[in-house]
């Protein structure tokens, strides 16, 4: 706006100046022409007047010289000495003439022959020599007007007219001269008519001395140093040129000058008017024009400023706002409410800014939301990882689920995080773990539901699909509860493996619209992790349980066996030992019948004891609580001991016990006690089922194996029955068993012992032909 005004001012000033100057210049030109012509006229006039004056002076002096009075008297003067008589009449004439010719200051006559002033109206000069001046010499030849010169007599600029005085005979006898009164010349020249206030005309002689000028310096006053003057006009005039020009005059003042050379008096005539005066009207005109122009310019400038302000203010507002907006202040608005284009511009601009701000705001909001979402995602993924870790490290549901709910609520700051599990029996849900805001009192035991129960969580459990409730107040399925009164939004996610819903992860927030679809996806992943964790935990629990059950069963079995053992041994102790005591005769001598019965009681007791022991052995073996200790065992010795023991079993029967083992059979690596037990069992069995014949124990070996056989000549058994013989509690002939005793566990136990050695046990048998049982043991120690 200021710029606009400034520009306008500049333009206006230039225009006004130009107009002013042109007006001034035009006027000046006109003035110059008119002044110069005026000067020319004035100069002409002065020149003419001056010339007329000179001519007059010449004429007058010539006339005077030619008057008889003068030439006669002069002739007399030259011829006679009688000046006294001549002079008065001459004097009379010339004084009269002088008087009539006011321009003649001094009229005098110079004798041609002597150069002596014969007569002068100035008596003082009579008799003086006056030949120095040109007027005398020239005057001898004719009428002449001298240059202006410095009068030697009075020291003043002087002009002298001179003319020869001829005698009657025509001889030049004297010169009549008259000094001209330059006052007249001055009057003519210095007259200012038509020259305005400061113009002047003046004369300069060829010596550049002002001879007629207002500023003329009298020679007298100046002494010898008469100043010379110089100017373009003077120079030109002295060069015999006439003309007019603008120049600086002798006084240093710019003037309009007319100059000319006056050939007669040999003077330069200059008529000058100072430019200042001459062009004053032009200047006046210029000033007036400029003044008027400036005034109107000023007025216009103010008007323009005001107008521009009115126009520019809104633009400035808009501009300022634009700058603010550009600087990032999107809340800046242009406060322009006019209805013109500027107003429209401002409003459009404001709308644009508004849109910009909105888009920026929304961009910022979007970035913020996105950032928050990413942070949330990261957090969710972190939680998922943690849950996964927990699920791997924590297999107890009672510990795992509370830690999961705590973790989720801690990380996401939900109002409540619940995990409900499906009750396998009822199909309903029960609250397994809950982590809620501190002031919420939630007892897990109180939360149960049936499959038909309403509510969001049940719905999810039944459908297996996640359900988001953005505002529970708008959700008819939402069950209002006093326990969680502040819930506004809820996300229930199924905890499922495949199609099987194990439970529901329920998240509640006190803010509406908390759960986005992305949340649902991510949290569903979390739920899947939890489901896997639950499944793992359940499997682990089941495994734990079955292991515990197995262990418990085992423990109970052991306990049972121990109890059975104890409870059987206690009465057996009495039975066997009372029978023993009786057989020892502590209560008196027994009859044969009594002794036999007592023996039978003892045998039965011992048998029962054997059963108990075998059962315990088998149980021990089966539970893996039996270890074997390998050592060098000489079979010859072991078999010898076994047969020795067995000899009691075959007492009274025609059975030969044989041992056929090479003496050089090297010892084997075996558990001595177990091997003895196996062989005793085999020999005992043979003894039980053999009525007569022999029982033979053989042994042989190769590089890898040592084989022991126990052969009897007993009742034998069918081939298909052989495997049964090794089974527990199986005896082939119930009747016979009863007769021969045996627990039915011996072979099973023996088989296990042999197998613990890394060996094999098998049998060959024919019904009625007897049986051969083989035990093959590894020579080296590669048994279990």
């Amino acid at each position: 706006m200021a710029r606009l005004t400034f520009n306008f001012l500049l333009l206006s000033l230039i225009t006004v100046s130009a107009v002013g100057y042109l007006a001034y210049y035009g006027a000046r030109q006109t003035l110059e022409n008119s002044v110069l012509s005026r000067l020319d006229a004035i100069a002409d006039l002065k020149e003419a007047e001056f010339n007329r004056w000179i001519t007059d002076a010449r004429g007058d002096i010539k006339l005077m010289a030619e008057s008889s009075e003068v030439w006669q008297q002069t002739e007399r003067l030259t011829q006679t000495e009688d000046a006294e008589t001549v002079i008065p009449s001459l004097k009379n004439y010339l004084t009269t003439a002088d008087a009539t010719q006011p321009d003649f200051q001094e009229i005098f006559i110079i004798e041609a022959a002597s150069g002596t002033i014969l007569f002068s109206t100035n008596h003082n000069n009579i008799g003086k020599q006056d030949t120095a001046e040109n007027y005398f010499i020239v005057g001898l030849l004719g009428t002449t007007v001298s240059n202006v010169y410095n009068s030697p007599t009075n020291g003043r600029p002087t002009m002298t007219v001179a003319t020869p005085i001829h005698s009657n005979s025509g001889e030049t006898i004297a010169v009549l001269a008259a000094h001209l009164d330059l006052n007249y010349m001055d009057r003519v020249i210095l007259g200012r008519e038509g020259l305005g206030a400061t113009g002047e005309t003046y004369l300069v002689d060829s010596l550049r001395i002002l001879v007629a000028a207002n500023d003329r310096v009298d020679f007298e006053v100046a002494g010898a140093d008469v100043p010379t003057v110089q100017s373009v006009g003077i120079d030109n005039a002295l060069a015999s040129q006439s003309g007019a020009a603008l120049y600086t005059n002798y006084a240093g003042e710019p003037v309009l000058g007319n100059y000319r050379w006056l050939n007669g008096p040999k003077l330069a005539l200059l008529a000058e008017i100072p430019q200042e005066e001459a062009f004053a009207p032009a200047r006046q005109l210029g000033f007036t024009i400029v003044g008027a122009g400036l005034a109107s310019t000023l007025f216009l400038a103010v008007a323009i400023y005001v107008l521009a302000r009115r126009v520019a203010q809104p633009i400035e507002d808009v501009t300022k706002t634009a700058v603010q907006v550009a600087a990032g202040d999107l809340y800046a608005t242009a406060g322009v409410f006019t209805d013109d284009e500027i107003g429209v511009l401002a409003r459009t601009f404001n709308q644009m800014t508004e849109r910009l701000r909105r888009s920026y705001d929304s961009l910022e909001t979007r970035v913020m939301i996105r950032t928050a979402e990413l942070a949330k995602r990261a957090q969710q993924l972190d939680v998922i990882n943690q849950v996964a870790r927990n699920a791997n490290s924590q297999l107890e549901l009672n510990t795992l689920l509370p830690s999961v709910t705590a973790l989720i609520r801690d990380r996401f700051n939900y109002y409540a995080v619940l995990i409900l599990l499906v009750n396998e029996e009822t199909g309903g849900l029960f609250l397994s773990a809950a982590n809620t805001a501190e002031n919420v009192d939630l007892k897990t035991a109180d939360w149960h539901s049936t499959p038909e129960a309403p509510g969001i969580i049940n719905h999810v459990a039944q459908t297996g699909a996640a359900l988001v409730v953005n505002d529970v107040r708008q959700e008819p399925r939402y069950l209002i509860t006093d326990v969680l009164p502040r819930t506004r939004s809820e996300l229930a996610l199924p905890l499922s493996i495949g199609n099987k819903v194990l439970g529901v992860l329920d998240l509640q927030s006190i803010h509406p619209n908390v759960f986005s679809l992305d949340d649902v996806q991510v949290l569903q992943t979390l739920s899947d992790q939890i489901a896997v964790a639950i499944r793992n935990a359940e499997l682990f629990q089941a495994a734990q349980l079955s292991r515990a059950e197995a262990e418990e069963a085992n423990r109970l079995k052991s306990q049972f066996l121990a109890n059975m053992s104890h409870e059987l041994r206690t009465p057996l102790n009495a039975v066997i030992n009372f029978a023993y005591l009786l057989s020892m005769g502590v209560e008196g001598q027994l009859t044969t019948g009594q002794a036999d019965m007592i023996n039978r009681i003892q045998d039965a007791g011992r048998h029962l004891l054997g059963v108990v022991n075998d059962i315990l052995d088998l149980a021990k073996i089966e539970s893996g609580r039996v270890e074997i200790f390998l050592e060098n065992v000489l079979l010859q010795e072991v078999v010898k001991g076994v047969l020795s023991t067995a000899s009691g079993l075959v007492k009274g029967r025609p059975i030969e016990l044989r041992q056929e083992i090479p003496a050089d059979l090297p010892p084997i690596k075996a558990d001595r006690g177990r091997i003895r037990q196996v062989l005793l069992n085999l020999v005992s069995n043979a003894a039980k089922f053999t009525e007569e014949g022999h029982i033979t124990v053989c042994a042989w070996g190769d590089n890898d194996w040592v084989t022991i056989s126990v052969q009897d000549t007993g009742i034998g058994m069918a081939t298909e029955d052989i495997p049964k013989a090794f089974a527990e509690f199986v005896q082939l002939d119930g009747g016979l068993t009863r007769r021969v005793g045996g627990t039915g566990l011996g072979l099973a136990i023996s088989q296990k012992f042999v197998e613990m050695h890394g060996g094999h046990i098998w049998a060959e048998s024919t019904v009625g032909q007897g049986s051969i049982f083989y035990v093959q043991l590894p020579r080296s120690k590669n048994g279990k």
């Binding site: 053992s565 104890h566 206690t570 030992n577 004891l609 609580r625």
Partner: protein
Amino acid sequence: MKTVSEARILVVEDDENNRLVAVKLLELAGALISNIFATASDPLPYLQTMLPQGVDLILLDLQLPGRDGYEILKDLRGHPKFAHTLVVVLTANVMQQDVERVRAAGFDGFIGKPINGPRFKEWIQRILAGESVWTAVS
């Protein structure tokens, strides 16, 4: 060191049959009937009141009403008078873990039930001679 005939022996056994079996077997082994004592429960009060001079050997059942065999052993070992009495377990608890527990508890011997009558005398003799006898299964 006393022989069977010299030794004073206390049988602690709650089952009457077994108490009688033990007593009779000791008798058969050579112990004097006047030196054989028997009680059905905690022997300490019995010892303190009836046998203040103590006995040479105590045959102790583990499962007793009131204090069990282990507690009784602890009481005896802690008693100034009876601390050095030989205490041999006579029990039907012949499982491996029972034997180990008895051994760890500091008993002087272990005789499992049913008692091997024919060998009983020898064991008593050895026990009285200061030998250790462990016969879980006879």
